[in-house]
Structure formats: structure tokens, C-alpha cells
Symmetry: C2
Subunit: 341 residues, 2 copies
């Protein structure tokens, strides 16, 4: 039913070799025959079968994006990733590459799904999200020699793969700066308890800025919680009950901030009035919350496009000049001042 290159060749009284060469723009084919082939292809509605192509060329022309919802993240749904995916997909599409999305079950170990993609050669490369500080997915891919790039940094694997991250450290630093400038000295930090790397980066920036301002780091003002609303709700009272109450909190995650604000409300503490609140990664939720939450916003769609470029540049089949390979980029966040601080 679907027309193959054989049909086309038969219809033109020509060999399949010539047809293929004509379609692929090779030099050794007569201009007039090429014309005839192209016309016939259009008329018979011929497009090359991707499976045949993949098999022969050893490349599937598709990239896998591995997204792992955090455990306990049901209805919420990571508004973070759609814009990123949009950008990633847009750039890949320009190179006629498909995007395959592989999610783990929330909380489940993703390694197995990854192996399947790699071993059955379902994709030519993968993009990792939710990078852990020590990430066995990275170890595995490095060892397997399978091309990949990561959204977020990791300590695993060295500088051998392209990675694009947000500058959490600088954001943590700037958040403290801003709060200190507004007179705060007791500043709490709340971050996810998982091994997610950005939690560490954020805290580094937080500590550095405090030190710079000559403020002692109080461990009682730092708390880790589950990376969702319940986590923020649960852990926020902990810092509020420290003997010398903080006058500001920096949340390292929007969902945790939302939960934290709920806890604050129940304690009769009003963000924006009784306490200053800043969120490190902005999402639409921060904007519509009341009070609207001051937050640091990344440019997700451009980041998606950029990571696609970085990945492609590292692939032999797409690589430009050797020198253009970019292995590591850290993008700034933009402060969106709203009402909560």
C-alpha cells in the first residue's frame, strides 16, 4: 500500500540505486533524471521509510528525553518542562529529528527504561532531566559510550558531555543580597531533600552571600523537605520555630514555597508583610499566588533550543568544526520582583 523505492523505480524504468541517489541529492545523477525522479516521488506520494533508513544507516534520527516526575507529584505536573520541551523539540525538528519522551513512573528507578532505549537503539542520543548530584544514568551512558546531554549539572562523568544548567548558585546569592539590602539578617533556606544537584548549588550561593555580608550561617535556618507542596508545608514550621525567628525565607522550589506559605498562613504569618519570601525557580504558580511571589525566572524555551544545539554539536553526524563543541553552559535567571518580599 505505501509506495516504496521499488515502486518508484519500476514506474520510472530505472534502478532503485539511481532513485535513491537522486532523492538524496548525490552528484552522480543526471540533472534530467533527477527531475523526473523528484516529480514521480511527488506524484506517487513517496517518502522513504524511516525503519529501512535507520537500519541501513545505523541511526534512528530520534532523540530521547528522559523525564522523571518526582515521587508524590500527581496532579501538579511540572509546568517547568513544557516550555523546555517546546524549545528542544523545535530545534530538533529543524534537523528532521524526532523527540521521544520517556518518563519513569514517579519515584521509580529510571535506569531500566534508559537501558532499553540504549540497548535496543531506539534513539541516537538522550537528554537527561532532573539530574542528580551523583547520577548513575550518567555513569551508565558514559560507560556505554552513548551520546547524551543533561539539563542540570552533575558531579558524575566529568566534562565529557554537554550540559546546560541554571545558575542556582548565583540566584541563591542574589536572593540573599536582595534580602540583606532590605534589612534582613535572619534568612532561612528551604530546599529539596533528594540528591538533586540544584539543591546543593543553591545552598552554596546562599552561604557565600551570607558570609560576604558577615552573617553567620545558622543551621537551624536551613531545612530540607520533600520536593512538593506537602514537603514545603511540613518543613517550613521547623525553621520558623527556631529560637530566633527568621524574617525571610528563600524557597528552592515553587511547589515547596506554596506549601510553605500555607504553613505560614496557618501560623498567622503573612508573606510580604510579616516575612519576606523569595522563590528560586519561577513558574506561573508564583505569579498567580497571593501574594504574588518574587522569584527568579529561567528562559526555558531558549534553553531547550540551546541544549539541542549543544547535543547536536557533540554528535559526529552533526558536528561542525571540532572547536565548536560546547560542553558546559550555565544560564542566569532573571529576578521577577513581585509582592512577597
Amino acid at each position: 500500500m505505501a509506495s516504496s523505492i521499488h515502486d518508484l523505480a519500476r514506474h520510472l524504468n530505472i534502478s532503485i540505486g539511481t532513485v535513491s541517489r537522486a532523492l538524496n541529492g548525490r552528484a552522480d545523477v543526471n540533472a534530467e533524471t533527477r527531475q523526473r525522479v523528484l516529480e514521480a516521488a511527488r506524484k506517487l506520494n513517496y517518502s522513504p521509510n524511516q525503519s529501512g533508513r535507520s537500519l541501513r544507516q545505523g541511526a534512528t534520527r530520534s532523540i530521547a528525553f528522559m523525564l522523571q516526575p518526582h515521587p508524590g507529584d500527581q496532579q501538579y505536573g511540572e509546568p517547568f518542562f513544557i516550555p523546555f520541551l517546546t524549545g528542544l523539540q523545535a530545534r530538533l525538528a529543524e534537523y528532521d529529528l524526532d523527540l521521544m519522551v520517556v518518563m519513569g513512573e514517579p519515584g521509580q528507578y529510571q535506569q531500566e527504561r534508559l537501558r532499553r532505549v540504549v540497548e535496543t537503539r531506539r534513539a541516537d542520543a538522550v537528554v537527561l532531566a532532573n539530574t542528580r548530584r551523583e547520577d548513575d544514568r550518567i555513569d551508565y551512558l558514559s560507560k556505554a559510550g552513548f551520546p547524551f546531554a543533561t539539563l542540570g549539572r552533575s558531579q558524575s562523568g566529568g566534562d565529557t558531555y554537554p550540559s546546560l544548567d541554571i545558575d542556582f548558585e548565583k540566584a541563591g546569592d542574589e536572593a540573599v543580597d536582595r534580602l540583606v539590602a532590605r534589612g534582613h539578617r535572619r534568612i532561612a533556606a528551604i530546599r529539596p531533600s533528594l540528591d538533586l544537584n540544584f539543591g546543593y548549588l543553591f545552598l552554596d550561593g546562599y552561604r557565600k552571600a551570607l558570609k560576604r555580608h558577615g552573617i553567620e550561617v545558622d543551621p537551624g535556618l536551613i531545612a530540607d523537605g520533600f520536593i512538593n507542596e506537602a514537603g514545603g508545608y511540613q518543613v517550613t514550621p521547623r525553621v520558623m520555630l527556631s529560637k530566633d525567628r527568621p524574617t525571610a525565607i528563600i524557597f528552592n522550589n515553587d511547589a515547596m514555597a506554596l506549601g510553605g506559605c500555607k504553613a505560614l498562613a496557618e501560623m498567622g504569618i503573612r508573606p510580604g508583610h510579616d516575612i519576606a519570601v523569595i522563590v528560586i525557580v519561577d513558574t506561573p504558580l508564583c505569579r498567580y499566588f497571593s501574594p504574588a511571589l518574587t522569584a527568579f525566572r529561567p528562559s526555558l524555551e531558549p534553553m531547550g533550543r540551546r541544549l539541542a544545539e549543544m547535543l547536536l554539536a557533540s554528535l559526529p553526524a552533526f558536528a561542525g568544526p571540532e572547536g565548536t563543541r560546547i560542553m558546559r553552559e550555565v544560564w542566569p535567571l532573571e529576578l521577577v520582583a513581585r509582592e512577597s518580599d
Copy 2:
């Protein structure tokens, strides 16, 4: 580098045919040989190459999900789809099927991307989202005889494909019911202006309920706008300036509701006090907005799983008994009463 079935066969001193049969669980292979093959496969870390498989079997074992961001929908990002995708992907994964995500550029015509998937046989079936009332994607797929399912109903194509939708009509009806029960008689309806089918369904329910309550439908209380925040912001004043002001508004979209509330605020009208507001499709945004918006909530993740099942049941390769094919399902929404009405 990657081991093929030939390596495995050579290593075992056996023919590739037998190896393949052993791995695929066919009956005509000795139990002991099968054991040896399986062990060797594990030892040599062998997995069948998907391209080779696809070519031979004429099936790629992947499903394409076509998602088209609405024009002008940048930073916002459709929180609607991630839970749905999660469910879809989860069920597909159980059948060892991959999910390929194809997005159009926001606003761009998606037909071309769809053709590419179909003609190059990159997927075995597609799932359509953002279904239009008259949807040429459906016409195309029907004519091409390519299997597909849709999230959302359409008038195109008849009852020949599985579709799963939310009961917008009932939601519109119930919203009116609820408002009337609370004493409202001037109820406005704001919906997207595009040809998106759910806008029509919603309005049908809205009209039906009004009629049932003996309330005349006032065209001045119905307005169409762009399906984003700006659209809601722009169009809401229009219904508010009708000579006999509405005391309630039903928004057919969360983003439009947010924009509408902004417009209301600027007119000094407070949702939940001066006017009642109900949103037809709930998202996290509705919950965190202030006042929290009363809304009708779908079960997106189960819907994703369900649509996967329906699609699979319609595919010859996966079909159960002939009678089990489900072509059309409409799922209820759950009212989440909050502060805005």
C-alpha cells in the same frame, strides 16, 4: 560494538533463526536450547535492534502524540498536558511502546508535521490533542487509513476512531445550575474564539441549563476571546459593560479566567464578592489564585491511560476480542468548590 543476533548465534554455535525463535518465545525450540540462548543473551548483553525489527515487522512500536501549543502561549505552558502525557506514556510503556512527541510551532499549521510522521512511517499510530471542531488532521488520517485516537471530540471523521473527551456540556450545565441555585440569573459565558470543539460543547450545556431554568439567553453575555490570559483580559469587560450587568461569569479556560479576573480587578469588581466566577477546566493555577477559583477538574492521568487503551484496542496488532473496541468515551468533571463563586 553492539552485539547482534549473529554474534549470539556464533557464540552458541547455533543458527540465527533458532536464536530469534528462542528469544521470541516460539514453541518450536528445545527447552534446553532456549535456556542457553537466554543466558547467553544476558551475558553478551544482547537486545534486538529496534530498527531491524521495525523493518521486518512493518511496525515501529511507537506512538506519536501531536501537541500543538496555542498561538501566543509562551511562558505559560499548558500544565494541562503533562499529567495526561504521564498516563498515556505509562500505559504505552506496559506494551513496550514508545511515545514520540510532536509539537507544532505555536500557531503554525501542524498538518505538515503529521504527514511526515505518517508517510515516513515513524509511528504506528498517532494521538491528537487540541481537537478542532472540523479537523483536517482527522480527515487526513482517515483517508490515509492511518490509526489514530483523539483527546477531544470532533465533527470530522464520524465514529470511526477512538476518542476520549471531557464532558464540557455537562460541566457548562452544572455550572449554570450551581449559580442559579445561588440566586444568579445574569450569567455570562466566556470561551475561546478558535474552532476548538470544547468551546461549542460548553456553550451547548450553558444554553440548555439556562433554558431549563427559564432564563433567556442573552447574546450580550456570551463572548469569545483569544485562548490565553490576554484574551480573557480583553474580552471580559465586554460582557461587564452590557446594560444589565452579569452577576456571574463562567470561563471556559483557566488562562482566560486569570486574565478576566485581572480585568475585573481593574474595574473594582471582586470575584467571590461582587461577582461569582467558575472555571470549566481546573488547573493548579486556579487553586493558587486569589481568590481560589471554583472549577471543574478532569482526571487527566487516568484519561491518558484510558486513551492509550482505547487506541491499542483499535489496533489490529493489539486488539482483544472484536467486541471490545470502544470508540467514544466522555468523562465527567469533578466540581472543586473554592472561593470565587
